[in-house]
């Protein structure tokens, strides 16, 4: 039995108070002068019985109530660590899992965690080996398995909280792998964390090897009020040549008291506006800054609030990219029909996420220069170009541009020879469906990015559009049919060409062969298709720490480098200054975002500071400091797998945590309450008989 607040035990001295008062002091307060005590001395002592305890049960109950209260305030708990430590013998293979998620920077958590890690190192036996693993969303060993305390101490000293979110699964999996390879007789995993509920997913079916002792050190303490900038959005507007943005931020407060804060908007690294806002307790408030004029290109924006106990979420980074308009070139026949490109042009002219800039050229007037800086080229019932224009277009598509081929009434059924090996799609004869009131787009691959928006019920019905004529597209296995007509003929076929995409639409894109442009789904369909082709699909103003960023899906980030013709590599510079090189070749170009702030993506020949900023913020899920019982985690990772024996479990925590879990004080208070009730009943009963004299002390027969 150990006490968390042993100094309260001094209160036991209060037990002496009733005895002292009643045996020594009480009767001295009243003195009665009397002529002589001669007769009183003759009375047998049994009748006088002065200064003698009476009603021992009552007195014992009162002392017990007092003792229970004192013991409850001393907060006792049972410390099983010593017994557990004494029970085990032999060298240990120990893995210390030290949480370095950004929630660990809250208050004194990191200091406590480091102290706990150092304490664990200091308790290391002569033959023990220890590995320090730092983990957040991912886990990495900071040291090799070692018995060197200085090495471990240095690794602990070098560790610091990052910007990542907590995930226990990868860390425990790594520890398991390390322990499985150990030849020492005793295995132990020490988890030092704040045990956020968001970090543990029950579906993470990770387990430690049988016989492993899992101990925990919980550094979370008490209430965790926190202010965070949860989100910031920038609405763009244009007045003449001036571009303005209106930024609105949402600030959350998890504390029990309302907070008034000054929120500051920074654009381009300079303060643009500051607003005062009151955030209600356990609520959120929106701060809407006045419209601010921004220059072209990508501008860095930050919404800040004063730093609190968890500073990592006191700023929200975002980018305002006005230069991200998608340039679209529509090539129509030399003698086009009236309004042949009108519907497409008008549809793309609407909207700002992204903004489409559409230019229309006649096929006979197109030059290679017209293709420059185009993200999308639309061949509106025009044959694939040949010659210099065709070569340039082919080059662009290979580099990542999108090509939409509207089959329609185009002449010829096969691509030119220079396109042929790479584009194995043939245009078949015209299918006339006018006699059966037209066909419809019946089979859609809603998993395709262009149709994903329509997957939900009542989010767009393609079957209402009538297609009276279309070309029978013939594709080989290298292409993908994204949508089919009701007769099974391909309606939309996609083929990847290099880093770019070529999409075929079997009918026209005006009302010549179909009434699709007159249907409500036309506008979103064109927008989604254009975003897909231009790889603007996942365009966002900010990203999350540890979120995988596939640059091949973010044309808005790499478009400028396609234009400038930077070689085959890009440089990604982190807020801390560290750089990584990302090759532009290959299907996927993954960038790792481990820090909050602004990354800069630039070409190898691009000057520092002139690249494309990428805003990265901490995962707000980590800001949810909800706590869960470490025993829950220990039970899950030590549960016996099917067909195996149970793992040994030993949980260790800070004395405060052990005491809080055991809550012995609560039982003591209840016992004190019961004793107090019994004392009242007994006292009343004795009092009614007239025998009670001051706290069970007194004289009487």
């Amino acid at each position: 039995m150990t006490f968390l607040a042993p100094w309260f035990l001094a209160g036991l001295a209060a037990l002496a108070v009733p005895v002292v008062v009643h045996l020594i002091n009480r009767q001295r307060k009243t003195v009665v002068a009397f002529p002589s005590l001669m007769f009183l001395r003759k009375i047998p002592y049994r009748s006088v019985r002065r200064q003698k305890l009476r009603h021992l049960l009552l007195f014992a109950l009162r002392c017990l109530v007092l003792a229970l209260l004192v013991a409850a305030f001393a907060r006792p708990f049972f410390d099983r660590r010593a017994a557990a430590a004494a029970a085990a013998t032999g060298a240990r293979e120990r893995v210390i899992l030290l949480d370095r998620s950004y929630s660990m920077s809250y208050g004194a958590r990191w200091t406590d965690a480091v102290a706990a890690a150092r304490r664990a190192v200091s308790e290391m036996g002569g033959n023990d080996r220890t590995t320090l693993v730092l983990f957040a969303r991912d886990a990495a060993a900071a040291t090799e398995p070692t018995g060197s305390r200085p090495q471990l101490e240095r690794a602990i000293a070098a560790a610091a909280p990052g910007d990542g979110a907590t995930r226990y699964g990868p860390a425990i999996a790594l520890a398991s792998r390390m322990l499985e390879g150990s030849n020492l007789p005793r295995h132990e995993v020490l988890i030092i964390s704040d045990f956020q509920r968001s970090g543990w997913v029950r579906q993470d079916e990770v387990r430690v090897p049988p016989g492993t002792t899992v101990t925990t050190v919980d550094v979370a303490r008490g209430d965790t009020p926190d202010l965070a900038v949860a989100q910031a959005t920038a609405d763009r507007d244009r007045a003449g040549d001036l571009h303005t943005v209106t930024v609105a931020a949402r600030v959350t407060n998890t504390g029990g008291e309302p907070r008034t804060i000054d929120a500051t908007l920074e654009l381009g690294g300079r303060p643009a506006a500051t607003l005062r806002a009151t955030v209600p307790a356990r609520g959120a408030a929106q701060v809407r800054f006045p419209a601010v004029t921004v220059p072209g290109g990508a501008t860095r924006g930050v919404v800040r609030i004063p730093k609190d106990a968890l500073p990592a979420n006191n700023a929200f980074h975002f980018t305002v990219a006005l230069g991200d308009a998608v340039s679209v070139l529509v090539i129509e026949p030399a003698r086009p029909r009236a309004n042949q490109s009108l519907f497409l042009q008008r549809a793309l002219g609407i909207g700002d996420q992204p903004t489409f800039r559409v230019d229309v050229r006649r096929a006979d007037a197109v030059t290679p220069g017209d293709l420059a800086n185009r993200a999308i080229v639309v061949l509106n019932e025009v044959s694939l170009p040949v010659g210099s224009v065709g070569a340039r277009l082919r080059q662009m598509v290979d580099a990542g541009a999108g090509l939409l081929v509207v089959a329609g009434d185009v002449r010829g059924d096969r691509p030119p020879a220079e396109w042929l090996p790479a584009l194995p799609v043939r245009l078949g004869p015209v299918v006339d469906r006018t006699r059966d009131a037209g066909g419809s787009v019946a089979q859609v691959d809603y998993g395709h990015p262009a149709f994903e928006q329509f997957s939900a019920p009542r989010s767009g019905d393609f079957s209402t559009a009538h297609v009276f004529r279309y070309r029978a597209l013939r594709e080989t296995g290298a292409s993908a049919v994204v949508a089919r007509f009701d007769d099974g003929a391909p309606a939309v076929v996609e083929h990847r060409l290099g880093r770019g995409k070529v999409v075929f639409w079997a009918s026209s894109i005006d009302e010549y062969w179909t009434d699709l442009p007159l249907q409500p789904v036309f506008l979103p369909f064109v927008h989604e298709l254009a975003r897909h082709l231009a790889r603007f699909r996942d365009s966002r103003s900010s990203y999350l720490v540890d979120e995988p960023l596939d640059l091949s899906r973010h044309g808005e980030l790499t478009a400028m480098f396609n234009r400038t013709g930077d070689g085959g590599e890009l440089v990604l510079q982190a807020p801390s200054g560290s750089r990584s090189v990302i090759p532009l070749s290959g299907p996927r170009q993954l960038a790792e975002l481990h820090e909050a702030g602004f990354y800069e993506l630039r070409g190898t020949n691009t000057a520092v500071g002139s690249g494309r900023p990428i805003a990265v913020n901490v995962d707000l899920a980590e800001s949810d400091l909800s706590h869960f019982d470490p025993a829950e985690l220990v039970a899950a990772v030590t549960a016996p797998a099917a067909g195996s024996t149970a793992s040994a479990v030993g949980t260790t925590a800070l004395p405060e945590d052990v005491e809080r879990r055991q809550a012995v004080w609560w039982y003591l208070l209840m016992a004190a309450l019961v004793c107090a009730g019994a004392e009242s009943v007994l006292a009343n009963r004795l009092s009614s008989r007239g025998n009670v004299v001051n706290a069970g002390l007194g004289s009487g027969p």
Binding site: A33, L37, L40, I43, V693, G698, S699
Partner: protein
């Protein structure tokens, strides 16, 4: 603290039945009323005249020198009283006894020890004793007796020899004793008593020493009236009285006790302080009262019985009761004896 409605002893005259207040005698003899009279002589006169005026027959005894009887000579008898003629006939010493003459001695022995200072709700025992002594002296002086007074605690404090004209001296001596008691009473708060008396040591009165010294100083046989609270064992009391009784003196003992001493009406637990010794004793009176009363009753009964055996008149006085009980006791003793022997 103290029960303000103590039980009344049955058959004892007093105020308990209310009729006493309508009795002029009782009114004159009420000690609380008498306490307002500052002059002891006036007080004594008031008592005696009021008392006598209420009687239906005069208690005055006629003067006489007639022979009464012979009695064997005992140690201490004046050899001048030996009847030598009878000795010649019988060869034994006999003393001639005569009917009382009117010029007898009245010597009042008043205990002025600290325990006599105790005051309950009314007058202190010392005041009560002083009233009684003054009244008896005045009464006797009116019969041309010689009156004297001796005050004592552990030893003789003041002594006024018996003489026909010593009434004033007796009253003055009583007045001094009361003044001395008042002076000490101002510092007799319970808190102070513990230190005062404790530091002074044991001031408990002792009858033996003063009575022995008094017996040595008195030559003539006297009517000796002892007024004391008799806080001694009955054997010690009777042993001390033998010093006086052995001289052929008539001895009348008045035993004044306060109502608190008789009834022990205290209710709250407290430290009880012995006024004379300074000793403290923590007590819960509720649980002692019955046994205390029994002990006191046994004590007074023993005193009364032993006194009768020693031919000593013993009267227990309650200081809250009128003085008539004491005066009746005195006169009854005189009458029971018929005459005083000289």
């Amino acid at each position: 603290m103290r029960d303000r409605h103590p039980e009344r002893s049955p058959g004892h005259p007093g105020r308990s039945d209310g009729s006493a207040f309508q009795d002029p005698i009782a009114t004159f003899l009420d000690p609380t009323v008498l306490a307002r009279i500052g002059n002891l002589e006036l007080l004594a006169r008031t008592v005696v005249e009021g008392f006598i005026g209420g009687l239906h027959r005069s208690p005055r005894l006629g003067a006489s020198t007639d022979f009464a009887e012979h009695r064997p000579y005992s140690s201490g008898d004046d050899i001048r009283r030996i009847d030598w003629k009878l000795y010649a006939r019988t060869d034994r010493y006999h003393v001639k006894e005569f009917e009382a003459d009117t010029n007898t001695n009245l010597l009042v022995l008043l205990d002025v020890s600290p325990s006599m200072h105790y005051r309950g709700d009314g007058v202190s025992k010392l005041e009560y004793g002083s009233f009684l002594a003054a009244s008896l002296a005045y009464f006797s002086s009116g019969q041309r007796d010689r009156v004297g007074l001796a005050t004592f605690d552990r030893d003789l404090v003041d002594y006024v020899p018996c003489a026909a004209r010593h009434l004033r001296l007796v009253l003055h001596a009583l007045d001094r004793a009361n003044r001395a008691a008042s002076a000490s009473g101002r510092s007799s708060a319970p808190e102070a008593l513990g230190t005062t008396h404790g530091a002074a040591g044991n001031l408990r009165s002792s009858l033996s020493v003063p009575l022995q010294r008094l017996a040595e100083q008195t030559r003539r046989r006297s009517i000796v009236v002892l007024i004391s609270d008799l806080y001694e064992e009955p054997d010690a009391v009777l042993s001390a009285l033998a010093h006086v009784r052995g001289r052929g003196n008539e001895l009348i003992v008045f035993h004044p006790l306060d109502r608190d001493e008789l009834e022990f009406p205290f209710t709250d637990a407290a430290n009880f302080l012995d006024i004379e010794s300074g000793e403290r004793m923590p007590l819960v009176p509720d649980y002692l009262r019955a046994e205390y009363r029994a002990v006191v009753r046994r004590h007074t009964e023993t005193l009364a019985r032993r006194s009768r055996e020693q031919q000593v008149d013993y009267t227990l006085l309650d200081t809250s009761r009128p003085l008539d009980a004491a005066l009746f006791g005195y006169l009854a003793a005189r009458q029971r004896r018929g005459t005083a022997r000289t």
